[in-house]
């Protein structure tokens, strides 16, 4: 009789000792978030009010939504610098529709469809023509925002309907805004996609070795195209939220958001070289950036000085584990 061997269990990753969970990137981010939270609540008496904390979330939810999709894109080894320009173009298109007498449902649909279309355009250029995404999206960044400038010039669209204001200013329950609820739901969906589906595994695989993936039967181009579409879609959704919150459209809307979204992704532990990262990290990074900007805002620190802290945070958080590892190995040059 031949023994039928029990099916071998091949784990996704090796079991790690508890210490590695404590020293994980997410744990580091949690500690930083708690520190900033503690410092903030001592520094300003207004910080621990539920409504202040609720206002805090508006600082990062829109960029955070973009960062979720951007995380997947960066893990797959690509990047999209045109997200803020997509926000501007989608917002401008919504403004045009408003002038033509469109109602709230149509406005939302237009914002999302324009975002999706722009993302698909990026995706086509990168996958069909095999161009480097960083350059393509620098180009489309100028193109998309340029179209917004051609349409609007130095004008602005105003007078969005009352019902449209809900998306950026409404509350779902008590102090929980619609924006925050949407961000949390989206984070859950993206967590599921990236960490619990074969699609997510393929995204990681592509980031690590696109050529090997191609040989293994993964449709690399199709997945990358999908990721660009997702990033465009999230930018379109963010555009609806921002336009609704501000109640007006200018072509300079969301200027600089692309770098803040990428900062969130990198701060969240996603490797800029692709192949590694987690949604939990990105969500934590979004909260940290919101905490820092809001806390410093309560202390009347000007926005430009806050950006120093964000920049320092980015470099220090990336450098810390490297310096720590070298110190332990005793070969710090």
């Amino acid at each position: 009789m031949t023994d039928t061997p029990a099916p071998r269990h091949i784990p996704d990753r090796l079991d790690k000792p508890l210490s590695s969970a404590i020293f994980s990137w997410e744990a580091l981010l949690v500690i930083i978030a708690i520190l900033i939270f503690a410092v903030n609540s001592f520094a300003s008496p207004y910080f621990l009010d539920p409504w202040s904390l609720s206002d805090l979330t508006f600082n990062f939810t829109e960029k955070g939504l973009i960062a979720l999709a951007m995380a997947l894109l960066i893990i797959s080894g690509e990047i999209d610098l045109s997200v803020a320009a997509i926000v501007a173009l989608a917002s401008t298109m919504m403004g045009m529709a408003l002038q033509a007498g469109a109602g709230t449902p149509v406005l939302v649909a237009i914002g999302i469809i324009v975002g999706l279309g722009c993302g698909a355009f990026n995706g086509l250029l990168v996958t069909r023509l095999g161009l480097p995404s960083i350059v393509v999206t620098i180009g489309t960044m100028s193109l998309f925002r340029g179209i917004a400038f051609i349409i609007l010039g130095d004008q602005a669209y105003k007078g969005y309907p009352e019902s449209f204001a809900f998306f950026g200013q409404g509350y779902v329950w008590w102090v929980f805004s619609f924006e925050l609820a949407l961000f949390l739901v989206a984070a859950l969906i993206y967590w599921f996609i990236l960490h619990r589906t074969s699609f997510g595994r393929r995204v990681f695989a592509i980031g690590n070795n696109p050529v090997a993936c191609q040989f293994s039967g993964v449709r690399v181009d199709r997945i990358k195209f999908t990721l660009f579409c997702l990033t465009g879609l999230m930018s379109g959704i963010a555009s609806v939220l921002i336009t609704s919150r501000l109640g007006s459209t200018r072509p300079s809307i969301a200027q600089g958001y692309e770098l803040e979204a990428i900062t969130m992704v990198v701060l969240g532990g996603v490797s800029i070289l692709g192949g590694a990262g987690s949604i939990l990290g990105v969500v934590l990074a979004a909260f940290i950036m919101g905490l820092v900007t809001f806390g410093l805002g309560l202390l009347n620190v000007p926005g430009i000085v806050m950006s120093i802290f964000i920049g320092l945070l980015l470099i220090i958080v990336i450098a810390l584990p490297i310096v720590w590892r070298r110190l332990r190995e005793g070969r710090f040059a």
């Binding site: 610098l81 250029l125 023509l129 095999g130 161009l131 480097p132 960083i134 350059v135 393509v136 620098i138 180009g139 489309t140 960044m141 100028s142 193109l143 998309f144 925002r145 340029g146 179209i147 400038f149 051609i150 010039g153 696109p210 050529v211 191609q214 040989f215 690399v220 072509p251 200027q255 600089g256 770098l259 990428i262 900062t263 990198v266 800029i272 070289l273 000007p302 430009i304 000085v305 806050m306 950006s307 120093i308 964000i310 920049g311 320092l312 980015l314 470099i315 990336i318 450098a319 490297i322 310096v323 040059a333």
Partner: protein
């Protein structure tokens, strides 16, 4: 003849000539030597910056902090001039170079010693340097009436028919040409971009070369800081905001491959000139300046598409076929 036609710079030059021709049909005075000299002078700062960025991109890195460096160094020089008008301009230029070098060295050290990808480092220093400008200036502006006449007029002085600014650009172009084509460091920069692993075996210190490249782009940023402030005679936190992407755009249009190793001094100069001609031409042919952004965006995409077709023939055929499945 075939290699002549394959030369990217020739095509770009032809494109620029056609562009000038097209503009001349709408505005006959555009091709005048006097006007072209003006366009060259207007584009000088962008050309200098594009050369610094080119050196970085050739090594497979990127420097997003150049415009912030320009802003910070410009503010330092302007405040120094406002406080001590007696300091001669050459000393101020040395100060600008030194401050820019220091900021570039910070980028370079982080890339070299800690091995952090350059896009992350310079994304961080992009916000830090601009924030630091706010800190040293307290948010205040330095206006034209606070600057000494020498400070403002130095680059405008005519010398052999061209303003000093143009001569500085020509000198920087010549220097870069010599360094990139005639020195060991120039060869190392190209080698690292083409194949970093092979470069290590060839005895090139990849990290140190990257450090040097960031020092170069930092010094260029500093020099451009003084030139920018004395040209537009206002120093504020908003100076050159977002300009880092224009610099990269000039490089991309000039045929410098973002994947490293491919590109030339002539390409960077012509790429900058292309953008400069567009921004100079739009007002005179009565197109709203709001069109400029979309036009340069389209130019970038077109340039990448054309360049990619030229590059694709190189590299390993086996892999290319595999990827095309």
């Amino acid at each position: 003849m075939k290699s002549f036609l394959k030369n990217r710079e020739i095509w770009l030059l032809a494109g620029i000539v056609v562009l000038i021709g097209l503009i001349s049909t709408r505005f006959p005075g555009f091709a005048d030597p006097a006007n072209l000299r003006q366009v060259f002078n207007d584009t000088s700062i962008l050309m200098i910056l594009a050369l610094g960025q080119m050196a970085v991109i050739l090594t497979r890195s990127i420097d997003l902090s150049m415009a912030s460096n320009l802003c910070f160094t410009g503010m330092v020089v302007a405040m120094l001039n406002a406080a001590h008008p007696a300091i001669p301009i050459p000393v101020l230029i040395v100060v600008a170079l030194a401050v820019g070098l220091a900021l570039g060295a910070i980028n370079g050290l982080l890339v070299w010693r800690l091995n952090i990808p350059s896009i992350v480092v310079t994304l961080g220093t992009l916000t830090i340097y601009r924030g630091a400008t706010f800190v040293i200036s307290g948010g205040a502006w330095v206006n034209a009436d606070q600057m000494s006449p020498d400070f403002i007029n130095f680059q405008r002085a005519a010398f052999l028919g061209l303003p000093v600014l143009s001569w500085i650009a020509i000198a920087v172009i010549a220097l870069f040409f010599l360094v990139m084509t005639r020195t060991a460091i120039g060869r190392s920069i190209y080698a690292i971009g083409v194949n970093p692993t092979a470069s290590i075996y060839a005895g090139i210190d990849v990290g140190r070369t990257k450090f040097i490249v960031f020092c170069i782009s930092g010094m260029i940023g500093g020099l451009a800081g003084y030139l920018w402030i004395s040209r537009y005679v206002i120093a504020s936190v908003e100076v050159a905001n977002g300009y880092e992407l224009n610099i990269i755009a000039a490089c991309v249009i000039g045929g410098i491959s973002i994947a490293g190793g491919i590109g030339s001094v002539g390409g960077a100069v012509l790429g900058a000139l292309f953008l400069g001609i567009i921004s100079n031409a739009l007002p005179v042919i009565n197109i709203s300046p709001f069109w400029q952004m979309a036009i340069s965006g389209s130019a970038i995409i077109l340039a990448v598409v054309l360049n990619a077709r030229g590059e694709r023939r190189q590299g390993r055929i086996i892999l290319r076929k595999a990827e095309a499945v």
